[in-house]
Symmetry: C2
Subunit: 380 residues, 2 copies
Amino acid sequence: MEKIKRREFNRIFSCGLGAAALLTGAPWACAMSGQNKNKESLGIALVGLGSYSTYQLAPALGQTKFCHLAGIVTGTPSKERRWASQYNIPSNSIYNYENFDSIADNDSIDIVYVVLPNSMHAEFSIRAAEAGKHVICEKPMAMNVAECEAIIQACKKAGVKLGMGYRLHSEPYTKEVKRFVRERTFGDILYVSTEAAYRSTGYPDQWRLNRALSGGGALMNMGVYAIQSAIYSTGQNPISVTAQEFSTRPEYFKETDETITAQFEFSNGAVANIMTSHNIWANRLKVSCSDGWFQLEPASSYGPLRGASSDGAIKFPHQSQQKLQMDDFARHILEGTVNRAPGEMGKRDMIIVEAIYESIANGNSKIALDLGQMGIVSDR
Amino acid sequence: MEKIKRREFNRIFSCGLGAAALLTGAPWACAMSGQNKNKESLGIALVGLGSYSTYQLAPALGQTKFCHLAGIVTGTPSKERRWASQYNIPSNSIYNYENFDSIADNDSIDIVYVVLPNSMHAEFSIRAAEAGKHVICEKPMAMNVAECEAIIQACKKAGVKLGMGYRLHSEPYTKEVKRFVRERTFGDILYVSTEAAYRSTGYPDQWRLNRALSGGGALMNMGVYAIQSAIYSTGQNPISVTAQEFSTRPEYFKETDETITAQFEFSNGAVANIMTSHNIWANRLKVSCSDGWFQLEPASSYGPLRGASSDGAIKFPHQSQQKLQMDDFARHILEGTVNRAPGEMGKRDMIIVEAIYESIANGNSKIALDLGQMGIVSDR
């Protein structure tokens, strides 16, 4: 048995196997840790070099401790040259959508981060898993629940880790909200009012307005933040949903939903009222409790976020949320720390998205949900 | 023709009749002004001496310029003595519910303010009108639309003025909101999020929890503020409503609605999402516009209110809202200024209340409304 470093010791223990696995040196103790063994920092390949990769993820990867930008996957040759030069990416770590699968042979790349239009999430997450790479998938996880499940199964089969690009679970304001809920700082959670929305006035040919590429409009985009925040503000999955759709600029939003409101019931008695839109500026989370309140506004922007509660201001130094997120996921792989946003969470949110669309299609009627603890992560 | 004082001249003119009426001295020029002629301050009788009369209206009437506390109507003899002594009310201006109609003979009382449980609003508003008194009716106007219409017709027939107890239309923060809407300060109104709610944990035998007396729960109480604010924040009446009801403490809210959310569509493209509750602490109005935002929080409490916009803080000196409201109504009678909250406004709000209950009863389905300009007051 090779000398076991402290980090690896922790990793094996954190898999919940502990001494037995350690003593037998079982190779399956942490299925994912094999190829990343002894690495201090994991290599990430970004798939899709749009604005989120360009202005958020790549800069964040210049600040991460446990991962770094190691490769790119793009369909645009001019981007290859620009990124290679700016980030010193070796030519053998640059892929296009056709030769992507050969990434399996590239030991410098441990994680594939899928930052493509929604319609390509499932395909590239699954191809990444089949290439033996850990996967981060941007939100929404895929076009529908069936695709989410396919991604989860592919990762399971390949023995790779799967995380959602839910950056907020790693940033301090959201973690503070989760602490309030966990510790009942303000008593019972009674009501969550949350909005995640922006006003789109740009090119009408952007992929988010194209149903074949996006699968839906505001709900499939900012709506996921609203759903997420309703859940981490209550610590529960909803047990029912009602929803409404509003259209005021059909000439611009030809194929995708413009504004959606939805209401969730929770088994602990909380009620959430969410709004998401591509036509409205709003970004806020307010939670009314039996013994006070707390709020974030903005609540899901790239930050700095701002917070307050009935006890006063909530204030944390601003850090890149994407840096925190990717380091958390890398540490999950390297050290076995908790996966703050596993694939099950993305799938659960897609179940809720589909229930919202179903309510709208059924005259705003109430849709019951039976999610149990799916996607609920205890990550104190 | 008697000498016409400037105030009376203004009054006749403001009735929209102008020179012709003036020249003929037509007695119907302002039907309501006869008995109040030459008064500088109108006498108000409060009907129902519960906490709102005790802690808000009576103190406010100590500050009003154009009206004063002149009489009381109560079913509780011990209150008669206490109020008579505290406010120097002569014994011939004290009534009970049986002898109330003889108020017709009391020239010291010009206005009857109905502050009773909802089930008694219609009866006492109509009896007041039939006694020839102007009427202020607390919100909600009555138990249903039919009762609202009966009140309006009774006041019309008696030639008396009718105002709703909608104090916010007279206070500066709400007037500022209406100015923003009128002047398009922040561009198009896109989204209104508003909550008017408190958490009831008091005696379960209070009248607000008794359907026979209240006609409904949160919606018939705080819900009216939420409906009102959605309308004055858009300057329009809704063209449709969807609604949802939530129940988490049925053992306490045995007969009345606990929490209701509702969504309004407006013909100018705005959407409103309202929440009202007897189980949640929340009091807020936020309006998202194409070029900014504005908000009040609290938005409908007795004040001080607080406001902010994308241009900075909104700040006005605090004054008693009830003082401002009652003086506005008295000036409407004395000087012909605008009636900021006429009976039509209360009736319109009850039409919306009924539509919300109808949506809930019909599986949350969308209910179309055809309100035109009903209750919309241009009161710059």
